[in-house]
Symmetry: C2
Subunit: 193 residues, 2 copies
DNA sequence: CCAAGAATTTGATATTTATCAAATGGCTGT
DNA sequence: ACAGCCATTTGATAAATATCAAATTCTTGG
């Protein structure tokens, strides 16, 4: 048996077109990991050493706010990247955590190897730039999508684009992501109010 | 008289350390622009062709929501970068606008020149990656700062870190940025409620 | 399959924030 | 300096959402 890199290669090819030797170098540093439901891809207080590409499954990012309350800040769906962005890039342990909501299969590369690739070739440097840019745009959209919107509108927008997450994530995580209470989310869903 | 590149060079040196010829190449593509209060650095419906580095003054980013209501999505302070991120990188005209809140002096480089620099040298490619990353982290923080926070808390956090903006931006822009009404912002400031 | 715990729903009520209306204050161009 | 136009404040009220409490449903380990 051999590892299937198709999905990862497709994702990367969206940004850059590496040469064959570059691909070989890159893929030799990639490993596949599996996480059971409830396991952590990244744990609070530890340095996040890997950048993950989610092949299959769902995960959520969470952190503690000032009052020690856990808030969900992001969801990962298949085909997306997962890392503790601030921690990964700065290299410090962060108050962040990434948890598998379902069994998750992910490919990953270590921060160490990624830095080596960045140094080796402009292709990877460019990939890094474009992926950062890609996420920047996503985040700007999420950001702007929270503005000028009521709880109901945020809920409706979320439901229409992330229907599948209702099957995998408990309401409390979605409620936290939308900045509303569990009860309100339950009522919005039931269309009371 | 000659242009003073000190602030820009300091900013860039935070990310990369270009060689002298690289600096010369870069700076030869940079121009200084001045905008009067109320002028647009980027106009709605036009492609944003420049990346700006704000030397002096304040600006705001805004866009129209689905109902045609203008919302403020970001503020620029001296020493920060300004561009219509999505529009600049994708190259399409966007429903975005950047307005000078005060007279603004900015250095800028065209998208065209920036792409040339990216192609020419890994230094600039890396600068692009790191700047994107820098903004990504900022945005993640803003994002998370909106979660699990009441209007009052968002206001208090904003006031404590952006006091100077109250001098330059009308309340309506700040209210929009914080996703509260002008009246509520006025009351929070007066400490009614 | 059952029991225990967790997740979700529902109800009653309180709090926060928005909305509408009007008064006051500040700024700008002539 | 003045008129006219915004910006800001203040008040009264309504609407949205949170909070607290309890009932119900779902899930999971044994």
């Amino acid at each position: 048996m051999h590892t299937n890199y198709t999905a990862l290669k497709t994702f990367i090819s969206f940004f850059v077109t590496p040469t064959e030797p570059e691909w070989d170098d890159f893929l030799s540093r990639v490993q596949t990991k599996r996480f059971e439901k409830g396991e952590n891809l990244v744990s609070r207080g530890k340095t996040c050493d890997y950048l993950y590409f989610i092949l299959d499954g769902f995960a959520r990012h969470c952190m503690l706010d000032e009052d020690g309350v856990e808030i969900t800040t992001w969801f990962n769906t298949p085909g997306s990247l997962a890392t503790d962005y601030a921690g990964f890039t700065i290299g410090d342990p962060q108050p962040f955590e990434i948890q598998a909501l379902t069994p998750v299969t992910a490919m990953c590369i270590s921060n160490h190897d990624l830095q080596i690739l960045y140094d080796k070739s402009k292709t990877w440097e460019r990939m890094g730039r474009l992926i950062n840019q890609f996420y920047l745009i996503q985040l700007i959209k999420r950001n702007n999508g929270m503005l000028n919107k009521s709880a109901r509108e945020r809920f409706e927008e979320f439901s229409s684009t992330n229907q599948e997450l209702f099957r995998f994530a408990p309401l409390k995580y979605i409620a936290s992501y939308l900045n509303i209470t569990i009860e309100t989310l339950s009522r919005l869903r039931a269309n009371t109010y």
